[in-house]
């Protein structure tokens, strides 16, 4: 589903080029649950940004199914992004001044979907995630776990084929973290391809492949231990 070939990224600094990613080659099949691990500054989030098409300044080849992302202009990348990708962030990134329901509606509002249809989709997701009672609350009225639950719900509301989760449990305590990871696993079992970044071995074990990054290089790829922690 995803094919990265020789992906490289660097910043020009006074001292020359500072490499962030070096010759990244990666194949991700549909339905996989990939975990990216590595120390701070290894390039994990940058790689997520490139896969998520939030970052356009890189070299190499990137295919999503048959689409050559490296050949697309920004407008077409945004269209592709909308069709394929959902994002979950460590800091939830819910908008403070929008209610839960409005936050869920946000990505749909960028997809030319009719208001009535959007309302139905939001109602469906609220129901699926069992947060109907929270729909009129603002993010600061929710716990961290609930906020991340809403963030995941928002990420999947547009039925993306690929869910990118950048340390989704990083700000949560363990029981809330487990709830979110169970949810991601469930989504994966229903067919969503997932790429997550985590520092936590237990959460890494939810996936079926672990990619280790260090100094911008892929240093190791291992199959995850079966089953979850």
């Amino acid at each position: 589903m995803i094919k990265l070939t020789d992906i490289e990224k660097f910043y020009e600094t006074g001292a020359g080029k500072t490499w962030v990613l070096r010759r990244i080659n990666l194949d991700i099949r549909e339905g996989e649950f990939i975990t990216i691990m590595g120390p701070s500054g290894a390039g994990k989030s940058t790689l997520m940004g490139i896969i998520g098409m939030l970052d356009g300044a890189w070299k190499g080849e990137y295919y999503v199914e048959d689409h050559a992302v490296h050949k697309l202009d920004n407008r077409h990348r945004v269209e592709l992004h909308k069709k394929y990708i959902g994002f979950v962030f460590q800091q939830y990134h819910l908008l403070d001044h929008l209610t839960v329901a409005e936050n869920l509606d946000l990505p749909l509002s960028y997809r030319d979907i009719k208001k009535s249809e959007r309302t139905a989709m939001v109602a469906d997701v609220l129901d699926r995630f069992q947060i109907v009672g929270k729909k009129d609350l603002y993010p600061n009225q929710l716990s961290g776990g609930q906020q991340q639950l809403v963030a995941v719900a928002r990420a999947v509301i547009g039925n993306p084929k690929l869910l990118l989760a950048d340390e989704p449990t990083g700000s949560l305590h363990s029981s809330q973290g487990k709830m979110i990871m169970d949810l991601l696993k469930h989504l994966n079992e229903q067919g969503t391809t997932i790429i997550q970044v985590t520092h936590n071995d237990a959460w890494a074990a939810y996936g079926n492949r672990i990619i280790q990054l260090a100094d911008g290089w892929i240093v190791e790829t291992t199959e995850a231990k079966a089953s979850k922690a």
Binding site: S45, L54, L106, R111
Partner: protein
């Protein structure tokens, strides 16, 4: 005191640390305070300071009140005033004044000197004493004994070098010897322009009337009185009512429906300016409010970056009032700095305002940045500092300590309140700017409408000048007619001159008294004597002005002293006096010395178009024209139609007049376009100032909108990043940011339109051809404001479109 000093030092340091912020805030305030100072200095000189005479509040003008014509500012006759003088119980004295411009010859070049003819008691009314000699004696007020004069100090110095032996000497005024009997002290100032309809007087002469009953309708003077101590204007008015009713009974033919109206000299001089000046003062008040809103917004934005500092101070024991005081010290310092710079701006702009208002602002008191103005500015600066500082100070100090002390902690509720306040400030700025723009827009439309008014003649390429003959040199009608005819012949022969003529009173050349008339076959009942402005003109005058002939014929060279006595009427006259009848052949006569009976009837030979004689926005009035050859007078105005720029022919025209009579002076030279422009000078003055203030308001509002949206974008970088990560495109972000700005602008426009509909009613007296709530004007200025606001929003919106979602999200 010590803590205050500490606050000031700290405030200076804080302001110095943000020079860009400080500069913008001080400049913004300087614009607001400077405009207020400038207008206040004019207001102070014109409306607040006393007139430069002794005990000026007791000096009043006594105007004729022609009740059946609605004219409450008509002139008076010497005979009536003589009666008022002996019969009243309320005046220390009442007397007459009237403008005069004799030619002074001898001791150098002939010179037209502005002068005043005054009645007995004038110098007593003005409480003025001579420096040398004496003032006029009562017996010098009689016709034939009035060949005496008093010089002003200025003329004595300028023309006679301060000659100590001037008293008793004779000087030539209009070629007649006048004995100098006094020189006034330098402190004595002339009556203002509005009373004399001319420049400041340089010499005085007695009125020399014969005070006969049949002169009662000869109302060509203005009366001025000094109230007795303790007598109010209302008491004086009541006393005069008794007198005028008595005169009405005694002289029904001339005095029926004729009353008087008393007005203080100040009210008469500046009363008509008061609404305009107060309006301008209100306008600069709005500019200052907008400036305050802008600076308050800057302070609010700045306070978010100082939350940590505030939290630390509070954690160390500073109470809220102490913190508020610290913030207020900074804002008051900004206000004072703005005040100082504003004073500099005001000094410069006062001279600009005076230049713009030269035809409008009376020059009795000089307009200076003096002590009262300095005091006003100091108070205004202090008040401004507190006014714009208090809301940001209260907001800045109302913060969550724990949240602020956490690194990167966000205080969303305080932030939301701050954003609401910032948004309301921008809404107010837009609303205030719309009020100012609409006001100036209405005046611009008024001036455009006035330019569209057909004055009844063609004003292009007309040169005008007064040519008043000396009655010593040209003692009777035939001499005067001969001079003017020769002058016109010579001028018409000049290359570049199309035609020329003379008239007694030019359109836009000042007011003119009505002349009583009798209409043949129509008996005159007491009080129903018909009076209408009558213009003495040569045949060439109507042709030169291109006044339309509607019926019959214009004057010809044959309408001379020996020909049939003729008269032209205008359309309005014909319509009013002979509705549905043919006016040609009808007869009219004017009164003369000794009454009506021995005066000739004059036949109407033509009907001409209506001319806007006194003001462009006035209704069409009845008008008559009589040929100069049949009604000669010694003071006429020359009108020359030229083929090129009229000014270019001035010296040639002057040369022709001097070739006829080297001593003949010409004065009040102007093109007709200038006279038309002068006739709308007050409106143009107010419009220019309002438009300048509106431009400043527009600029400040645009800066305000830009500031709020730019700040909002910087605060919403994270949100914009999230939205982009969720699929928002550049145009979505553009819409988001522009939408936020435009909602504020729309709310401001609605509020401003409502406020404007109410406030522009204050302009009513200045408007012409356009209503105070004119929808086209409001829509146009709202559109202009919206376009400027969109530009102001677009700059930060473009920045928002370039937000890198990766960077924005990582900053979290």
């Amino acid at each position: 005191m010590e803590t205050l000093w500490q606050d000031i030092r700290y405030a200076v340091r804080m302001l110095g640390k943000s020079p860009a912020f400080t500069l913008i805030a001080v400049l913004t305030l300087a614009l607001g305070i400077g405009a207020n100072t400038a207008i206040f200095s004019v207001l102070d000189a014109v409306l607040i300071k006393s007139l430069p005479y002794r005990d000026p509040s007791r000096i009043a003008m006594v105007w004729g009140d022609e009740r059946d014509r609605g004219n409450q500012r008509s002139q008076v006759s010497a005979t009536d005033v003589a009666d008022w003088r002996t019969q009243n119980h309320v005046f220390e004295d009442v007397t007459t004044v009237s403008g005069w411009t004799p030619v002074l010859t001898g001791n150098g070049e002939p010179e037209r000197v502005p002068a005043v003819i005054v009645g007995d008691g004038f110098f007593n009314v003005m409480r003025a004493r001579p420096l040398l000699g004496r003032t006029f004696l009562p017996e010098e007020q009689i016709d034939g004994k009035d060949q005496v004069t008093i010089l002003t100090y200025g003329l004595w110095q300028r023309r006679f070098g301060g000659d100590a032996k001037i008293i008793g000497q004779f000087i030539l005024l209009n070629a007649r010897p006048h004995q100098v009997i006094g020189v006034m002290s330098p402190e004595f100032q002339s009556l203002p322009f509005r009373i004399l309809d001319g420049p400041a007087a340089e010499l005085y002469r007695p009125v020399g009337e014969n005070y006969e009953d049949n002169e009662r309708s000869s109302r060509h003077l203005r009366a001025i009185a000094r109230l007795k101590p303790g007598v109010t204007l209302d008491q004086a008015q009541a006393d005069m009512e008794v007198i005028v009713r008595r005169l009405e009974r005694e002289h029904p033919r001339t005095n029926t429906n004729y009353g008087v109206r008393l007005v203080t000299l100040r009210e008469d001089t500046v009363g008509s300016l008061r609404p305009a000046l107060l309006l301008l003062f209100g306008a600069v008040g709005l500019v200052l409010l907008i400036a305050c809103a802008n600076v308050a917004n800057l302070l609010l934005a700045r306070s978010t970056t100082r939350q940590k500092e505030i939290a630390i101070r509070a954690a160390l024991g500073a109470g809220r009032s102490r913190l508020v005081r610290q913030f207020l010290t900074e804002s008051v310092l900004l206000g004072l700095a703005g005040g100082i710079l504003g004073l500099l701006l005001a000094t410069w702009s006062v001279s600009l305002i005076l230049a713009l208002g030269a035809k409008v602002i009376p020059s009795l008191n000089s307009v200076d940045i003096d002590l009262p103005v300095l005091g006003f500015t100091a108070l205004l600066s202090l008040f401004t500092g507190v006014f714009f500082g208090v809301a940001p100070a209260l907001h800045a100090t109302h913060t969550d300590l724990i949240e602020s002390l956490k690194e990167g902690g966000r205080t969303s509720s305080a932030g939301a309140a701050r954003n609401r306040l910032r948004s309301s400030l921008v809404v107010s700025e837009v609303a205030l700017a719309l009020v100012l723009l609409a006001s100036s827009g209405l005046l611009v439309r008024t001036l455009l409408r006035l330019r569209e008014v057909n004055p009844g003649f063609n004003p292009a390429n007309l040169l005008t000048m007064n040519v008043h003959l000396s009655t010593a040199k040209y003692p009777d009608g035939p001499h005067q007619v001969a001079f003017y005819n020769q002058m016109i012949d010579r001028i018409q022969a000049l290359p570049g001159v199309k035609s020329a003529g003379v008239v007694q009173v030019l359109p836009m050349g000042g007011n003119f008294d009505g002349r009583g008339i009798q209409i043949a076959d129509r008996p005159v009942l007491p009080g129903q004597e018909f009076s209408t402005p009558t213009y003495i003109a040569t045949p060439g005058y109507l042709r030169t002005l291109e006044i339309l002939l509607r019926q019959g014929r214009l004057f010809t060279e044959h309408d001379d002293a020996t020909g049939e006595k003729v008269v032209l009427v205008n359309k309005a006259f014909a319509r009013q006096i002979w509705p549905g009848e043919n006016p040609l052949g009808k007869q009219i006569r004017f009164p003369g010395r000794g009454g009506w009976e021995n005066q000739p009837w004059r036949t109407v030979v033509g009907v001409v178009g209506d001319v806007k004689q006194s003001r462009l926005d006035g209704p069409d009035e009845t008008q008559l024209y009589v040929p100069e050859a049949q009604f000669p007078v010694s003071w006429m105005t020359l009108v020359v139609r030229t083929e090129q720029r009229p000014e270019s022919l001035l010296s040639a025209v002057r040369a022709q007049i001097h070739s006829l009579d080297p001593d003949q002076a010409v004065f009040q030279v102007a093109t007709m376009d200038q006279l038309l422009a002068d006739s709308i000078a007050l409106r143009r003055f107010v419009m220019l100032l309002l438009a300048s203030f509106a431009a400043v308001a527009l600029l400040l509002a645009a800066v305000g909108i830009y500031g709020v949206i730019a700040y909002s974008v910087s605060q919403r970088t994270h949100e914009i990043g999230v939205r982009m990560a969720l699929g928002a495109q550049a145009r979505d972000v553009l819409g988001l940011v522009m939408g936020q700005g435009l909602i504020l602008v729309a709310v401001g426009l609605v509020l401003g339109a409502v406020a404007g509909m109410v406030m522009t009613r204050l302009l009513d007296s200045l408007l012409f051809g356009v209503g105070a709530g004119d929808a086209v004007t409001f829509a146009s200025v709202a559109l202009l404001l919206a376009i400027i606001a969109m530009l102001a929003c677009y700059i930060p919106a473009r920045r928002a479109m370039r937000v890198d979602p990766m960077v924005a999200l990582r900053y979290e």
